[in-house]
């Protein structure tokens, strides 16, 4: 019995693990809430592009000796606005605009990093994430930005729902659709910034998409999808950190793979929608 207790409590006797847990839970909750819009609007590609684009800003900030997160955030915001602006001109498709812009920002980052002599470890953690290394300042910044994103979504829930579901009708009803869509991209850019340190550029999209997609299989409305996604994201962070601790593997990889495992379970077993029931139902 005490072995089980030890197994469960052991990791949290260390301060860096407690910090990691707070940061990871906050990030995965915020990412799942905004990720619900991302998957319902078919914006998964943007969710992948903004973290990559932020690398350009991280590299510039690194070269200038400025705060890396602020640099990354600015780059993600600029890219988000440019994607919106270029695709609204109607000459090229939305996903084409994304494809052009985010690799440009990422390439800029690569070029700048190559010119630096002392880059390796510090910048490497941005690519793959290093939640075990966050300090209390990072944690409070994460909590503050996360709260801002959640409060804005709660305040404008009605408008975000309407413009995501039916932008033409929302515009005809007098809603400022363009401003709301830009706002959603800006919130996504902010979420990207706090997710960078937890899971890194490459895996941010997993936190945005996977828990929200699992939740979509289990719920019937946007609001419950967001709540369930937040819970599944937090659960993935908790379980992922246990796995990282006991199996001594990368925390970001463990968190993402736990979320993937939960998705697989829901895909197979979700009430009435899961693969198992669908196959079983066909026999009737």
């Amino acid at each position: 019995m005490s072995e089980i207790v030890d197994f469960l409590t052991d990791p949290w006797t260390f301060e860096f693990m407690r910090r990691a847990l707070i940061a990871a839970v906050v990030v995965s909750v915020v990412a799942a809430v905004i990720g619900s819009f991302v998957i319902l609007k078919g914006m998964a590609f943007v969710g992948d592009a903004l973290p990559h684009a932020s690398f350009g800003g991280v590299a510039v900030a690194f070269a200038l000796g400025e705060n890396l997160y602020i640099g990354g955030g600015i780059a993600a915001l600029i890219t988000a606005l440019l994607i919106g602006f270029i695709s609204r001109r109607g000459l090229i498709r939305y996903d084409t605009a994304i494809g052009i812009l985010f690799v440009a920002a990422f390439a800029l980052g690569v070029a700048i990093v190559q010119k630096q002599q002392n880059y390796t470890t510090d910048l490497f953690s941005f690519v793959f994430g290093n939640v075990l290394a966050v300090d209390w300042n990072d944690v409070w910044l994460t909590v503050a930005i996360g709260l801002v994103v959640l409060v804005v979504i709660a305040l404008f829930y009605k408008e975000l729902l309407f413009t995501s579901y039916d932008p033409a009708m929302a515009s005809a009803s007098g809603l400022p659709v363009d401003a709301i869509q830009y706002g959603l991209l800006a919130l996504l850019a902010l979420t990207t910034v706090i997710a960078l340190q937890t899971v890194g550029i490459v895996l941010v999209v997993a936190l945005l998409i996977t828990p929200a997609a699992t939740a979509q299989l289990l719920t019937r409305s946007l609001s419950t999808m967001m709540l369930a996604g937040a819970f599944l994201g937090a659960l993935s962070s908790l379980v992922g950190l246990y796995v990282a601790w006991h199996a001594n593997v990368s925390a970001s990889a463990s968190i993402v793979l736990t979320a993937t495992g939960l998705f697989a379970l829901a895909f197979l077993l979700a009430p009435s929608r899961g693969l198992v029931w669908q196959v079983g139902g066909r026999g009737r």
């Binding site: 305040l155 009605k158 995501s164 579901y165 039916d166 033409a168 009708m169 929302a170 007098g174 809603l175």
Partner: protein, 258 residues
Amino acid sequence: MATERVAQPEWAVEVRDVAAGYNAHTALEDVSFTIEPGCLAGLVGPNGSGKSTLLRVMLGLHKAARGEVRIFGRAGKPAPGVVGYMPQSELVDWSFPVSVLDVVLMGRYGRIGLLRRPARQDRKTAMAALERVQLTDRAQRLIGELSGGEQRRALIARALAQEADLLLLDEPFAGLDATAQHDLLRLFQELRREDKTLFVATHDLSCVAEDFDHAVLLNRRVIAFGRPSDVFTEESLNAAFQRHLLVLPGRDRTFIGP
């Protein structure tokens, strides 16, 4: 035009010399017509004739390159609650996790305004709209779980929930069976008796010819408008639907009017 209506002080819809397009492509040219208040008007034309574009211009969703649209005498983008709209159902995301009632409530959002939640009165209005299209028992279902005809009725309920005096409906009859179409037509006639103005884009010529008060025949330009019996002459129909006639082998092209 009918002489007894000349005294009518203002038009519900007044479109003057409107041209509109997408990049290099011209969808509408020299479009001018009027619709009287409290009438059931049909917008008829072949595929690609610019019906949806015209409705989008009237809603202020698409900018006209030239010309002017006045709704109840006012130019510019209509204020919330003045014009109700039902988009073509192909443009609606049916996989989105929203209930039928949620969708109809969206018709209220323009009036509710930013940062405020729908009140009980908004729910009442939404439920009343659902009752008019006989979907009360479907209110809590997911929008994607409805049949095609029910989905269209849900979109009409949303347009009704806007409580607008002018309703622009894009292909409400498409995919409905004869009974559902008949019910919908009765609803339109009821609304007209409540002094609503309806402007309905449709392919169904015979329905407009028999049951509507007014018709606009469109093929990038307005071929004719007015009473359906005056509009649906062989000459103007051939002019509007010339593309269709062209693909019929052996058809005499000289029959096509100006």
